[in-house]
Symmetry: none
Subunit: 193 residues, 4 copies
DNA sequence: AATGAATGAGCCTTCATTCAT
DNA sequence: TATGAATGAAGGCTCATTCAT
């Protein structure tokens, strides 16, 4: 069972995530976190000595479990279109709920901190590779058109990230979002006749 | 000839743009701008009383530039492919030079300022409309494939914005960037045969 | 005839007086005076190089001409009660019109500038002496009760000054003012029977 | 026992009072208070976020003191003359020590803050009422002459305030002050025979 | 572990004042 | 004389961070 300290830490991270989503990275101060968590300055500092630390912990806790999920689905032979549809739907919901917000904070955080850039690269590579394997899987099953896997995967990942990021600030209508996400699917699908 | 004051203002904006591109919005302080422009605090404040003001002036100046340039090119009958190519090349250069563009700064700026959010919507709409008219222009000249103008324009704008934004933080290789930008052009171009 | 410069100076002083009455001394900045007079910074500085200078010039221009007036009235044998009544009435009107205001600015100005304190002493002495000679005149004519001239004059001067000063900030009703001013007269008048 | 924070607050107020008495309101800066109290900027700001706040707290603390003291004395049946004498003596000492009192600072503070003007009115009313009850108390005990309570109280309050205010700027001799304060007492005392 | 008082650095903002035009 | 751009000092305010309790 986790110790008291660990539990407090998790709580802090959870609350901090909301703050970062709402305000971005640099606009969140330790004071804000004190207030939001109800901890005193000293109390908060016992666990994290800067917003940087909180943010990094948050990112680590936030790693997606898409890979595992996808592997399982592939094994089961779930149709690629269905998997992609599910993924896009998740994204749509996230955006609609205004939760897409962490990306902006991440960008804000990483910029001006060349040091850890590696982290972000890895995150991006990971996303691209996942997308690549999904596209390939779809092509093998004859559901997706043949295409330049690397390029298409990159394109989709970058586009979705852009959509998510922009959504944090521009109030896209549901219609626009749906239209765009749909378009992704249409673009890669084998043409029906 | 413009008065001294106006000239100084323009200079400030030009220099500020570089700063905002490099560091995002909130990381740029009035002090930074003083140093970068070589002005004293008071001198800077005579023209702008906050980074907000500088930024807004910058955005306004930025918009005008594009509009004018494109109108002129269309009048002259410049080929759509050339115009698009030029636009994409500009973007490529900007990214290559590490001037990840203003997008990130804009997002940062707008978040937490619901008031002016309208401003951002307008900017987005403006970009989409510009892209739409470029696509239409290309179609009329038989250079571009027919397509759903609105959707395609939105897609391109969001993608390019995402690419630019991500570039500010992820060190994409020249190859990746070129490949992606090229792909945009290929996607809309009329198929040769 | 006064030169252009002198005329501008007078105008500045006139406008400055209003400002000082309204806001006190330290709250008035050179910028305020620029705005109020419609002059540019440089223009104003040509005439006065600080609010101090403006204020001093203002005080010098503001010297009362009570002495002369009073001497004349005494020669004519105007009743002391009438003279005192006139003086008090002037004060009442001034307060009612909210014009009592300069005293506060003067205090603000003099405090922290021990140097020129002499100026204020003289102003006070002058007022006391005037009051003394008025009281004496009234006593000689049998209109005023005998009293300790010095003490009574001081008392009245200090009281009236306090009343004026307080009026700048506390919205005394007309009734209160009249009652208090009346009381002064009653106190010094020979009892009727 | 009061917490550390409260104690510090009181200390700040005590020291601030001296500063305000010496320099008036607007001439006192937060920096001055830092220096005077020995606190750092942040330390001071933890307790008060502006000189306004300090000043208001000061006024409130000030008021309470007087109220309590007088109530106690009346209960004990202390002679009115003695109470009045004590009050006047306090004032004399204050003036002699160059602590011209807060009046000037109060006036400076209130001007330009119409909002809180009510506060000042209340303070004035409070002072008048206190004086009224003291006069009444003295009359009931046969120590003071009968008089128009309201008018006399107003007169005394305004005069003393004027004396205090003027003292901050005009270097009255001890003799003048004593003479004037004495006169107040003589004016209200029952005539001995 | 937790509290909250205190520190000090850094940014923001306003002015009096100067100076080229 | 007048203009308004520019300077630099002074003061206001906020935060990350430390520390005694």
């Amino acid at each position: 069972m986790p110790k008291k300290g660990e539990r407090t830490k998790s709580e802090i991270i959870g609350i901090a995530k909301k703050e970062f989503c709402k305000k971005g990275f640099s606009a969140v101060t330790m004071s804000d976190l004190c207030e939001a968590t109800g901890l005193s300055r000293g109390g908060l500092y016992r666990h994290f000595s800067s917003t940087d630390e909180v943010f990094i912990a948050l990112l680590e806790a936030d790693k997606d479990d898409w890979q595992a999920e996808m592997d399982k689905a592939m094994e089961k032979g779930v149709p690629a279109i269905q998997m992609m549809g599910y993924y896009l739907e998740q994204m749509r919901t996230g955006i609609a709920e205004g939760a897409g917000g962490l990306s902006l904070a991440i960008y804000e955080f990483m910029r001006n901190k060349q040091v850890e850039s590696v982290f972000l690269d890895a995150r991006y590579d990971f996303a691209v590779n996942m997308m690549k394997s999904l596209l390939q899987y779809g092509q093998q099953r004859g559901e997706f058109k043949p295409c330049n896997l690397q390029m298409e995967a990159e394109h989709i990942v970058i586009f979705l990230d852009g959509l998510q990021t922009a959504s944090a600030v521009i109030p896209f209508s549901d219609e626009v979002i749906s239209r765009q996400l749909n378009n992704i699917l249409e673009t890669i699908k084998m043409e029906e006749r």
